[in-house]
Symmetry: D2
């Protein structure tokens, strides 16, 4: 049997001693002040055991990690109609995401890049009665944690400086691939990104993807086939233009956020979340990537 606690502690030791810790995302003012030496891991086994090290109980801004959750809700609501408005291919594009959108006539490459997630937000706005409240409740339910909240300051901070997201939303609108008002869609989008969760809450929330659609309380939220598809999208598209690198080094479906969080999972086995606010140039957590690479190398547990 693997001694998971010992493995997490080894990783903690090794990773917190690394000198280059990346750079905290500066473009969202509210995130720029998070100390860059924060580091935590939470590991949730499918069998119920849970292990932690470091700052795993501190709240982080989940940011793009929320895209998996909004995709999940939209997939529940509209099923495969989702794919009329976006594709499932990796963007493979380090430099210019609006270019691709323009080249492909307003159809985002996948639901985990900004333009795709904005279309997903548009769909939720159309189908949910009280969009922000209903979405938050969905996140609370699959996580079994009713303390999870938006951080309105972070949402407001992004609204004031998120010009690139305004550009994407307007471009989508110009192609007829945004049905609601730009301001309304982005208000929802900035709120979903602002959700604050700690590593434990993240491994709880993502338990459904490791457990064929059933949450920790054994309730079925998604079919096995939906879970397979969402995991596939996480693997091929979850890390911006570093998706190939993450698959290659870590070998797990997962999703990162510019708040420094990463959550990943091995179907039928575990979910794991790391938090380290310093980012590499591709926008993924510098130490989180290293920690997860060490974890799958030490445990030899990966989908490959």
């Amino acid at each position: 049997m693997l001694d998971y606690q010992a493995i997490l502690e080894e990783i903690y030791e090794s990773v917190t001693n690394v000198e280059n810790k990346g750079e905290v995302a500066a473009y969202i003012p509210e995130l720029a002040n998070v100390p860059k030496d924060k580091f935590g891991i939470n590991l949730q086994l499918i069998t119920g055991e849970n292990y932690s090290v470091g700052d795993s109980a501190e709240k982080l801004s989940i940011q793009s990690i929320s895209k998996v959750l909004s995709l999940t809700k939209a997939f529940q609501l509209v099923g495969n109609k989702l794919w009329d408005r976006m594709d499932v291919e990796p963007s493979g594009n380090p430099f210019n995401h609006l270019s691709l959108l323009e080249l492909e006539n307003g159809i985002p490459r996948n639901p985990l890049i900004n333009s795709g997630a904005i279309v997903v937000a548009d769909i939720l706005l159309t189908h949910l009665k009280n969009p922000k409240e209903d979405f938050l409740n969905f996140v609370r339910e699959i996580s079994h944690d009713h303390t999870i909240c938006f951080n309105n300051k972070v949402a407001e901070s992004e609204r004031l400086t998120g010009y690139n997201n305004y550009a994407a939303a307007n471009l989508l609108k110009s192609y007829g691939n945004l049905y609601n008002n730009v301001e309304d869609v982005l208000d929802f989008y900035f709120h979903q990104c602002s959700i604050a969760m700690d590593c434990k809450q993240l491994t709880n929330a993502f338990f459904v993807y490791a457990n064929k659609g059933k949450c920790l309380k054994n309730r079925q939220h998604l079919t096995a086939s939906q879970v397979k598809r969402i995991n596939a999208i996480m693997l091929t598209c979850g890390f911006y233009d570093e998706a190939g690198e993450f698959a290659f080094e870590v070998g797990l479906p997962g999703k990162s956020g510019v708040g420094g969080g990463i959550v990943a999972l091995l179907p039928q086995c575990f979910t794991i979340a790391t938090w380290a606010p310093g980012l590499n140039p591709q926008g993924n957590s510098y130490l989180g990537m290293q920690a997860l690479e060490q974890f799958t190398t030490k445990t030899q547990l990966s989908i490959f």
Copy 2:
């Protein structure tokens, strides 16, 4: 001596009998209703003579033709500092103007594509006291015509549907290449595009570019060197991704607008304006291009 009136009439005859007249721009609702068989030409010689055929005294929405006028005003105001914020190269890009902007880090290719003209509008907003009023007065002055006005309905129509321009402005903002508020810049921009002028007023306004910077009333508005540079930009960048084609077929500096207007000129010789609302797929007036090709072929007058 050339019989200009006879030549214009021959062209009128030939061009109004063409079957394919192109398509009226549908994406600006207020323009969509202009009858597509309108056609007019005005020719203003440097020596003072003026010739007309067809609907040359009817008002058209000058749209992108205004970009030459706003560039001129901005060039007067800030001189070569202009080129810190945009380039002077043809975009050569039929398919995706935001892509280039992204690839080139928010520096528009030239002042006559939308993104470049939006930066020019931003500069005018910064340097003019009453931007809309002052700019309109400038246009009136070089045209010697104080009846020239904005069409507020057209401006409002573009504000409500100009998502692509909102995308461009927000993208510029995200790169730090827009100093004023997006809404304010676009309000100015949509107004400048909405100016209504007839072909005669257009040949008046562009007289400065044919006359080394002096207007019809012989007042110096630009230096000869500034005029040379603006004419060069018109030639290489004035017709979207058909700039090469227009140089090749017509051989004059000029500028087109989606309202169906084209104005062109031969330094020291003449300015000419055509109006035909149907556009070719590149967004230039279908009949206007043909009329100007015939004009330079018949008269053998071109810069080449």
Copy 3:
């Protein structure tokens, strides 16, 4: 227990009745004559059982499937130095592979697109004594089948018409990322692509990737870590610009070739090969994709 033979037969029944069977690759003259209603599957379980339907014992031209085998050999020979000369990211590029190569200064996106595989061929040429012979022997060994051969006619056919590969090789050379002579590298490359194998031989050859590096005869050819990495590359890059779609629909690492073959695998569980020469517009076997989607849906066996 799953009745694999029954499942394969169901799939056979369903898939051979589909009307649209795709189009046989016309650009390689020698392949253009293969009848498009050929269809076969071979399934090799890790536990030793083997199942077949249809034309699974007929030879097909493995084409791009060979890129996984050449990558494997090069990885054995030079280890992680490989990644100095190419990346591991999906290309995400439906339209123009040379563009990316140019944009990224001669570093191919991954070893499974043509430009990457040409660099791999260059590496093998440098490190193998008798490159073609040694590589063929490697394929024979991991497959335990010494009847496997090049098809010289196919190789010659590609040499005469493979202008796009000549373009890629010369572009790589212009960036200094090809050390050997263009003709020599492409001669090797066209031969590796011309290898003829049937579905059974393909599941044998790919057994190492399902069995932590050990072949059917239990000999260790690769480390577990190397296998994990190659499987990750297959998943993110194995199907041109349809890699996301294959992960999404099928959920297995795999590789396709324009000869109509696909081979895929579930670590610790099975390897499976399909053959159906008709291709979809993305260049992957039309019926093969469907058969594998049905297989993972019916068996609920995927990496996700």
Copy 4:
């Protein structure tokens, strides 16, 4: 009256004292050894006068300047059929010329970028009996100088290292836009580029473009309409991705070569050639650009 000799001498003085003289093209070994402080100008007036300064009588490798001459010959031979195989739009592309070719399905943007000139060479190969000899004779005739020759060493040097041209030719071939053999087309192309001429010979050769198609000996080689079109192409496409800059600063149709030569002209007025081997990052002669800017500023002679 302008004192042209004095103006040329002023420019000589000013330009030879500039510190940054650019870099000699290193990628063609035979050109890499040319001393970078060479500098010469020749000016040929339409009225017959001729003026020189500096190294204007030394031979330079005309390189891409030859593209105007080959275009002229092809235009004579096939007329407007030329435009079925290439376009007349500026490429506007600093970074990757093969990308555009791929994106536009093998149709080069214009005849003055490499891919376009290779198609022109292909046309000449098809239509000339003894292609190299016939083309050289054409150049000798319009220049009235039968001493003009290929430099076989330069041609051979390019053949051995011109991988990018091989890539372009093979890519054209893959799109069916090259009818002759790649080797044969490039052999012709490398020879046309290798022609050695001095500044005086260049102003002679380009006299036809300033004189409505008539050469110095008053023989008609091109129609006025053909001349207009070729001049238009020079203006919009003659300086790679600096065409806009050259039009803006200099305001003359012209063409540069990586041998450091530039030739430009004002219709009905003059032809001018400069030589300075150091290139700017865009591949145009660093001092030549400056000299021509000074010339049109001092003389106020430009097409604008």
